[in-house]
């Protein structure tokens, strides 16, 4: 049984450089496996999804980018505020995107203007499109997508991005924008949504994750799991790790072992290898402390290994499988 059975919107955030997009893409593949239909969305115009899936740049149309293990489909799109606004006008005001009013809005730069002067408005449009995909029904009144995964802005900006009611409330107390933002907010704060945080086992990302969880909780946004990315297993036997961390690595035993392997062991080589082992032990100890700190958050946590090379499509499937095995999907 997966850890998030009722969740239909998975928001993935994380400090820059932690592999947020990779995790979002892997999660989409994991959720799609076994015949499900999943939508993967990005909102920052980086085309990170297209790069990962080795696909041409994505637009506003939902495009199939991958087939999951066991026959599911992953669709993807890049949401941009201008298209989202035209879409919104079309849906709620029956304005054709190619009609005169919509064209005038574009020509006057009204969309740029509106989203510049009120960034909260841009976020309402972006999250509004995501919400629309979550609640959309296909023929037969079944949900159009089994799940939607959002590759969201980084941890430092995530609460402002999702907490749109707060952003908009200063600008519009009544009226259609307020109404729309309330509707979106209702989905974002419901049990249908989970905000997952991606981190590395390094001090700063761990601290940012802890701060991010507290901030999300303080505004009532549902915190999902913590995904620890780029994990490397400790290589040294446990006793040697402890000794090395304390600066007491058994260098004589190491020298003997190296000779046993048929290596010549001049002193610089021995000292160099001992230094590398000690560095490794310090890093492992630091990672262990990070793991403990994350454990205190009491959220489900998942670990993904550091892949030997840059992540390619094959790597994504491997990571998706690991997320399934660990119960995230």
């Amino acid at each position: 049984m997966a850890d998030f059975p009722g969740v239909r919107l998975h928001v993935v955030t994380g400090k820059g450089g932690t592999g947020k997009t990779t995790v979002a893409a892997s999660l989409a593949l994991a959720l799609a496996s076994g015949g499900k239909k999943v939508l993967l969305a990005e909102v920052e115009g980086r085309q990170g999804i297209a790069q990962l899936f080795d696909h041409a740049p994505l637009g506003y149309d939902e495009t199939k980018v991958a087939v999951a293990a066991g026959g599911g489909d992953v669709f993807a799109l890049a949401i941009d505020p201008e298209m989202a606004l035209l879409d919104y006008l079309h849906m709620f005001y029956k304005l054709s995107p190619t009609g005169i009013p919509a064209r005038t809005l574009r020509r006057m730069g009204a969309i740029d203007f509106a989203t510049t002067i009120a960034p909260g408005l841009r976020d309402v449009l972006l999250t509004g499109k995501v919400k629309e995909a979550v609640v959309r029904r296909s023929a037969g009144d079944k949900p159009a997508y089994d799940a939607v995964v959002l590759d969201a802005p980084p941890t430092g900006r995530i609460v402002r991005f999702l907490n749109i009611s707060h952003e908009v409330s200063g600008l519009a107390k009544v009226g259609p924008i307020k109404h729309q933002s309330d509707n979106v907010m209702a989905v974002l704060t419901s049990p249908q949504t989970a905000v997952h945080l991606v981190t590395l086992l390094e001090e700063m990302p761990v601290q940012e994750t802890i701060d991010g969880v507290a901030e999300l909780r303080s505004v009532g946004l549902p915190v999902g799991g913590v995904v620890v990315n780029s994990v490397r297993d400790p290589l040294l036997p446990a006793a040697d790790l402890l000794a090395a961390e304390a600066g007491k690595l058994d260098v004589a035993a190491l020298a003997a072992g190296l000779k046993e392997a048929g290596l010549e062991v001049p002193d610089p080589l021995l000292q160099g290898l001992a230094t590398e082992a000690t560095d490794h032990a310090h890093r492992v100890a630091l990672e262990e402390r990070g793991r403990d700190a994350l454990g205190a958050l009491e959220r489900p946590s998942y670990e993904l290994p550091l892949l030997p090379d840059a992540v390619d499509l094959g790597g994504l499937y491997r990571l998706a499988e690991l997320l399934c095995e660990q119960g995230m999907a």
């Binding site: 450089g17 841009r122 040294l236 072992g257």
Partner: protein, 382 residues
Amino acid sequence: MNTAPRLDLDERLDTAKILVCCGSGGVGKTTTAAALALRAAERGRRTVVLTIDPARRLAQSMGLSELDNVPRAVAGVDTAKGGSLDAMMLDMKRTFDEIVETHAEPAKAEAILANPFYQALSSSFAGTQEYMAMEKLGQLQASGDYDLVVVDTPPTRSALDFLDAPQRLTTFLDGRMIKILMAPAKAGGKAYLKVVSVGFNVFTGVLTKIIGASVLQDVSQFVAALETMFGGFRERAQATYDLLKAPGTAFVVVAAPERDAMREAAYFVERLAEEQMPLAGLVVNRVHRSGVTSLTAERSIAAAQSLEASDGSPLAAAVLRLHADRVLLADREQRIQARFTSAHPGVALVEVAAQPGDVHDLAGLRAVGADLAGPREAAVPA
């Protein structure tokens, strides 16, 4: 393989007036800025470092505890050579408010500050942070209190955003929408009708329908109030831009030896060249090297395998695996770096070794500064 010229940062620290550290998020930009500033101060220059959203413990190491928009002296700096170090965290909204207060008459300023759109714009306009960082940079430089201003650029989606921020703000203020919304305030009803075409009635209709009449009214009030300050804004944006190109300014691009970070760094280097902005060079942070070059990864793995197969020393086998991983990582990083250097052969570069932990005290910053300045000199035998 091309080798990049070595970046001599000490020379820059001793002569530059402004150093801008830029690069994508998560590459150690803030730490680099702080370490450079500390080093400059201890080499005898009156230095201020302007940071944006530093990690808490790094901020604490410099005695910064809150956003107060005022430079504060950093305790524990070696001032023997006559230098000093101040540090401040940018308060974006406060900086914006100050500009309004400086440029508008008191009554107008008050109206602007109270307007809900101003409040939204000043705290979250995409680019406000970047613009305000540049604004503050100009102020600090003009104050005459410092020989050197080191600035850490905001953690933007793309490292290029802050260069475009002043331009974006002026484009916005010059925009057609602003002109339309201001027209009635400017010349009564007539010009209003002239500026706007047939589409406009439809347009305001739609706009009112979508955002509501009262919101539209707030917007035009805000725009009208801003009008008095337009000249000032545009001038300042231009002045800041010029300052970035002036002699005495240098950009330090910070990256990590990873594909995405180096790609961002490459874009940035190209962009600086296009804008004719002076690039000092590239700092490659978090570089892994092996001190044991005589043992290749292949040989190391083979030896580990033979130990594992014969139930030999698990310690030696693990250390050999570890060494092989490290060599392979170092190779990969070097390939990524070489790709950058082939494309940008003239760009000077310095590497900083990866540390197991983060830096959170002055001693740590000092050590990073020494690494930035160059490989530590070999100990002289007694």
